[in-house]
Structures are given as C-alpha cells and as structure tokens.
Symmetry: C2
Subunit: 219 residues, 2 copies
DNA sequence: TAATAAAATTAGGTAAGCCTAAAAATATTT
DNA sequence: AAATATTTTTAGGCTTACCTAATTTTATTA
C-alpha cells in the first residue's frame, strides 16, 4: 500500500521533473513541501527502495516508470475532482485546489472512473490543466505563456500555470478567466510588464510574474 | 486539528453508546477496530484530555457534547457521501460503505453542504439510515426490527442495521431492498427464523440474525 | 587551486498510533 | 469469601514522517 505522504512525493517529483527538465534535487522537494531537507533524504531512500524512483546520492531523484504511473494517476484524480467541484458543486476555480489535495488520496479507481463518466470525460480541469486519461496519456499543449507573447498580438487564455489561490483571486479581480481574450498593447522595458486589453476593454499592466503564469494560444 | 484516527474513535463511541445503552468499555472499541486493547487505552486518554469524551479508568468512556457533535458530523458526512455515490454515481448500496469511510474524513463543511444541496437534502442514506441535519439533529425512527414482527403481519423495509457488505449482498440475492414488502408467514420456534413472502412472492426463511438487522414499519 | 559558500547527508530525537508481555483490577464461579 | 477467569491497564517497543545539530559533499569565488 502507498501512503498519502508517498503519493505527494511522487506527484511533486513528477511536477518538478518537468519544471527543472531533469533530475530533482532533494532540496527542491523540501522547499515544495515546506519541510526540512533531511526528511526528504529519508523519504526518497524509502521510495527508491520501493522502486518508485531512482535516487543518486547528492544529485537527486528521477521517477521510475512505476513511480510516474502512480504520479500521473494522482494528477488525474486531482484534476477530475477539481472539475467535479467546479462543474457540479459550483465552487469557484480558486476554491477547489486544497479540497482536491485531500480527495486525490481517496483510493478507488472505480470512483474516479465513474466521476469521469459523470462529468462527460472532461479534457481539462478548471485551471486549464490537461486531465490525463485512464492510461496516463496527457494531452500535449502548444500553449505559450503570455510573457512570451508579442505586443500587437491577441491571445486566448487557456490555462494557469500555478496552484496559487492568490493568483486566481487576482485574476478574478481583473475579470480574467479561461477563455479571456488578451491583447498585448505594449511591453514596458523597465520591468517587462505588459499593458493588455482584456476582452477588448482597456485593463492596465500585468507584471512579468503574472504574465509568466498565463498559458495562452493565438486568438 | 483532529486526526482520522480520532474521528473514527468518536464515531465508534457514538455508535456503541447507543447499542450498549451507556458507557462504552475500551474492549468494545478494540473489538470494533480489530486492534489490541492497550492501543485503545492510550487513545481514549488522549481524547479525554481533549475533552472529547469522559474516561473512567477500567469502566469505559462516554462522549462529551463536544465529542458527540464531531461524531454526528462525521456520521452526516458518511451518509451524505453514500447517498451521492448511489444516487449520482450509480454505485450499488453494497459498494459504498468502504468508500464513504474514506470520504467522511475530508475536512470541509462547505463541501458537505454543497453535496447536500446538490442531492436535494436527502433524509436517509441508501441503507435507510437517517442523515443528521446541519445542526446534528437526527430524525427519530419508529421502526422495529423484523425479528420483533408478528406472523400474519405485513411490513415495509426501511433500513438495514448493519454495515456488512455480506448482508447487503445476501439481501440483493433475495431481491430484498429498501421498500420491499415483507409478510411474515410463520416463526419457526426451533431457531426463531421467519418464513416470509417478499413483495407477495413466496421466499423462504430468514434467520433471526438477518431479521434482527432489518428495520421495518407496518405496511 | 585553495578558500568559502551552499546543498545534502548522517546521527540522533519526537509524536502518533499501533504492538506484545506482564501486572492489576474487576467479574464470575465455586 | 476464595479461587478463578476476564477485562483493563502499565511498561516498553516499533514504524512513519517529521525534526535539529553536526558532518560531509558539491559548487562557487577569489
Ligand atoms: Mn489543483
Ligand atoms: Mn487544477
Ligand atoms: Mn456506511
Ligand atoms: Mn449507510
């Protein structure tokens, strides 16, 4: 049996592997859980002994296929639950992450499959993140971040690259949501912030940090 | 914060207090969790120190008002989740208990309230057990067990007094479910088993043990 | 490359929730 | 009321998932 803590480690390694494009140092895991480094060293040794990841001392870890399979299954559960909470129970997109963090650890394939069917096999969650299918296949996206966009171009928001409630609520304030049309009027060279129009209404500046979290496609 | 283990203890004490009509000995808890007695002694001391129950050494425990409130809230969650699983996700009544045992520990009032609303404020769960309302009020039932019924009388099944999957599946086989009409033809004096007709079709004998788990009202 | 800084590991410890073995308290039989 | 049986508690241990302090390894800078 796999514990909630172990599942969370695998999920975090999965995420960090993509972000860091390779081996995940133990320190990155410590930071992401807000725990101390030695706790991570212990745990990755255990996960390595279970063949869920490979651990190179003082270098970091990589998921094994077995570990990645579990990680993706949890991401799938997380996103299906988030979709259920927003679509069916009418929570706002900024309210569901913490709940999904709990629900993703409920052990039952059958439950997730039925939820998935009930929801009509959704392809993305309320934040635009792709929902892995039953076989662990994740829809590739050709989205870029708004930060990479060009002044004079128009983009459509299709995802948020962040779990932060604060960011989601900030976007609520700006009346920006999935599907919003963002026109880049200008990029301020001083801080790389962007002056944008949202849905054709003048809006103001988005910091480079925010722009970097917004996944967009050409509109 | 209250842990899953602690919540399970409170729920069990709540159940056993009614069944035993009073103080719950530690041994009864050990038996109900299939764990050893010393583990229970430890835990009830902790719960007593948290004022969730009163503990008299070598006698047993009683819930405090604070403890009972938590216990009832968990029973409410358990039954709402079971209702959701059967009503919305179309699980069978014998499939949902173990899942609800996990889901009942998800911490969120809001989630349960929204589920409750989504389900239309159900009064009973798929096994006929009353769902406590938001204030912890539990609908009193004037049901008796079929065992207490009289030959010649007709009853309607409104609840099952048991969490056993085996019993539920046995009832499935007998085509007995909530709402079934049970006519007691005879009581066998040797073993107190009952010869019954189910929904007007001859059925055969129900053991006293089964009859004792069936909650019925006059039909 | 030697010195220094940063990151990771080792060593030893804690709380939660379980365990076994032994002792004590309570209940039942004779 | 003794003797015996049953139930409960005490004492000491184990595992999981964390911790701090000290040490070692790796990376950076002089
Ligand atoms: Mn999320
Ligand atoms: Mn999401
Ligand atoms: Mn149940
Ligand atoms: Mn039930």
């Amino acid at each position: 049996m796999i514990s909630t803590a172990e599942e969370n480690y695998l999920k975090a390694v999965f995420k960090l592997e993509t972000e860091l494009q390779g081996t995940v140092p133990t320190g990155a895991l410590a930071q992401s859980f807000n725990i101390q480094a030695p706790s991570v060293t212990d745990m990755v040794k255990k996960l390595a002994s279970k063949k869920l990841l490979r651990y190179e001392k003082s270098k970091g870890v990589r998921l094994t296929d077995k570990g990645r399979k579990i990680a993706v299954a949890i991401v799938r559960k997380h996103r299906i639950w988030e979709t259920f909470l927003v679509q069916t129970l009418e929570f706002r997109w900024d309210e569901v992450h913490a709940l999904a963090e709990q629900l993703e650890h409920v052990h039952s394939e059958e439950l997730i499959d039925r939820l998935d069917t009930f929801l009509g096999h959704p392809k993305i969650d309320p934040h635009g993140d792709p929902i892995p299918d039953k076989n662990g296949k994740i829809q590739a996206t050709r989205a870029i971040t708004l930060k990479m966009g060009e002044p004079g171009n128009t983009y459509k928001l299709i995802g948020i690259r962040e779990d932060s409630i604060e960011l989601l609520q900030f976007l609520n304030k700006l009346k920006i949501g999935l599907g919003s049309v963002l026109f880049i009027e200008d990029r301020e060279s001083f801080d790389q912030s962007l002056r944008v129009k949202v849905d054709n209404k003048a809006q103001g500046f988005l910091s480079a940090i925010v722009a970097n979290a917004l996944l967009v496609v050409d509109a």
